[in-house]
Amino acid sequence: MSDIPLLKVKALSKFYGSRIGCQNVAFELWPGEVLAVVGESGSGKTTLLDCLATRLAPSTGSVEYRMRDGQFRDLYRMSEAERRFLMRTDWGFVHQNPADGLRMTVSAGANVGERLMAVGDRHYGKIRATATDWLGRVEIATDRIDDQPRAFSGGMRQRLQIARNLVTNPRLVFMDEPTGGLDVSVQARLLDLLRGLVSDLGLAAIVVTHDLAVARLLSHRMMVMKDGHIVETGLTDRVLDDPQAPYTQLLVSSILQV
């Protein structure tokens, strides 16, 4: 891990009228680090993620990202063209519902290849070879390359969405409940896959989840949110094994023991 952070978030707030989405959030994210944002429904996790991923403009505060040339740029001072370019090259966004992140009416191969074509790849054979390679890496049989995601199971769709996001070798991936709605065995395989990819590719990731087990498995560091505020941050194992804030203690003690 490098000494210079990849993402610097300062005093970030988002208000929906008089309601608070998230307030005064500040943190830094280093290359190769996986940060989990946990909390109950309505705690502002997704609002925070959307503000970071430029899907929702924050009310105040700044988000600075270190570009490939080493320069820090404020995401909300960039032109929209630059921001969208960043989103489809250096970043990935994995939605909870794969239908939001995939084009359901085009084949799996085209879904993976879209980002390549968007950055100017114009060789069909090479695009297809890359798509085939990526389908293999996310454990989708390569003979399904011409099938539409509609014909895929939930777990396959989620893996396809991951392949689609990682094909341009991004440095930062945002994930919104990546395992939500999947049954436990499929969830376990997906987590295994994600963990492998994150460590192989040295990805930095911000994972929003309400599932503390997912956070423990994937993340190095963790932020606990409640009512739009961060109530506790720390190394994942520390937070889960020795929660300090009363709310975190409640959260950790609420885990069902099987």
């Binding site: 489809r88 085209a110 114009r122 069909y124």
Partner: protein
């Protein structure tokens, strides 16, 4: 105003009122200034249904003058319903000369074809466009497609071509084949066969596109670069035909299949009727054309 002795209401020259024509001309000028960009305009109700060429008719009405000569084609033919009606319409409301000869026309309104005879400087080709947005079937949101045009995000267009190759082994899009105009805007050339795409490139004629229902006008000024999108390993190709025209023997023109009987008999003839008739008048014969000597008797 045209002279009329009937009890019917009379029309302003070329049907539209002068304010409307000015509005459309402003849209056309903007379209010419930004080749391939879709300019919104306040499309009017025309005395014909949407989908029958209301956009093309409005563009023609805005650019036509008393000294113009108008030709109207539908699928290349001068004698089909749409072509005959629109030609008669302009004859009635603007009293201009009309022709079926490509070389004599100053304005050619077209649906689905570009004439085989090369167009000249000073001629204007007006296309009737049903759906002006090339990205529409991939991205249904207008706000998003406009943003994609603004930011030049055209990766999605290649996704469609990718799908074609994955499914059919080649680019199977045969009409409305997307083009990039002057290295900037991706444009739908209206449902012309891709056979006609190369004719748009560096054409000496002005090309105007009108979409009445969708309320958009776009243009290709003369001598503009028009490139059909493709892949390096699957380059753009036009359709080819295995046999020449059955009436005029032309090779390398775009052919229509005409059913001759109910036993499966058919022939391939030029879709451009004016081109085919000219060639026959010059003495060219296909294998099904009547012998001129016999026809005379």
């Amino acid at each position: 105003m045209i002279e009329s002795h009937s009890q019917l209401a009379t029309y302003n020259f070329a049907y539209l009122d002068e304010q409307t024509k000015r509005m459309i001309r402003r849209a056309i000028l903007k379209a010419i200034a930004i080749p391939g960009y879709q300019v919104p305009f306040a499309s009017r109700e025309m005395p014909m249904p949407y989908g029958w060429g209301t956009g093309g008719v409005q563009v023609t009405a805005a650019v036509i003058g008393p000294n113009d000569t108008l030709k109207v084609i539908d699928q290349g033919a001068d004698d089909t319903t749409n072509a005959v009606s629109i030609r008669a319409f302009f004859q009635k409301v603007s009293n201009v000369r009309v022709t079926t000869k490509t070389t004599e026309a100053t304005i050619i309104q077209t649906r689905h074809r570009i004439p085989e005879t090369a167009l000249q400087a000073g001629q204007t080709l007006v296309y009737q466009v049903p759906i002006p947005e090339p990205l529409r079937f991939l991205e249904p949101r207008e706000t998003e497609t406009r943003k994609m045009h603004a930011l030049e995000e055209y990766g999605l267009m290649h996704v469609k071509l990718y799908e074609d190759i994955a499914r059919h082994g080649r680019i199977a899009t045969t009409y409305a084949y997307p083009v990039k105009v002057e290295g900037r805007y991706v444009m739908d050339p209206s449902p012309t066969p891709k056979f006609d795409n190369p004719k748009m490139h560096q054409s000496p004629a002005l090309q105007l596109f009108g979409a009445g229902r969708e309320k958009r006008i776009y243009a290709i000024p003369p001598y503009t670069e028009v490139v059909s999108l493709d892949f390096e390993d699957h380059p753009f190709e036009i359709q080819t035909f295995s046999e020449p025209c059955a009436l005029c023997g032309a090779k390398g023109s775009y052919l229509d299949e005409v059913i001759l009987d109910d036993k499966g008999g058919s022939m391939f003839v030029c879709s451009d009727t004016d081109f085919c008739e000219d060639r026959q008048a010059e003495g060219h014969r296909g294998h099904l054309s009547a012998n001129p000597a016999e026809a005379a008797e």
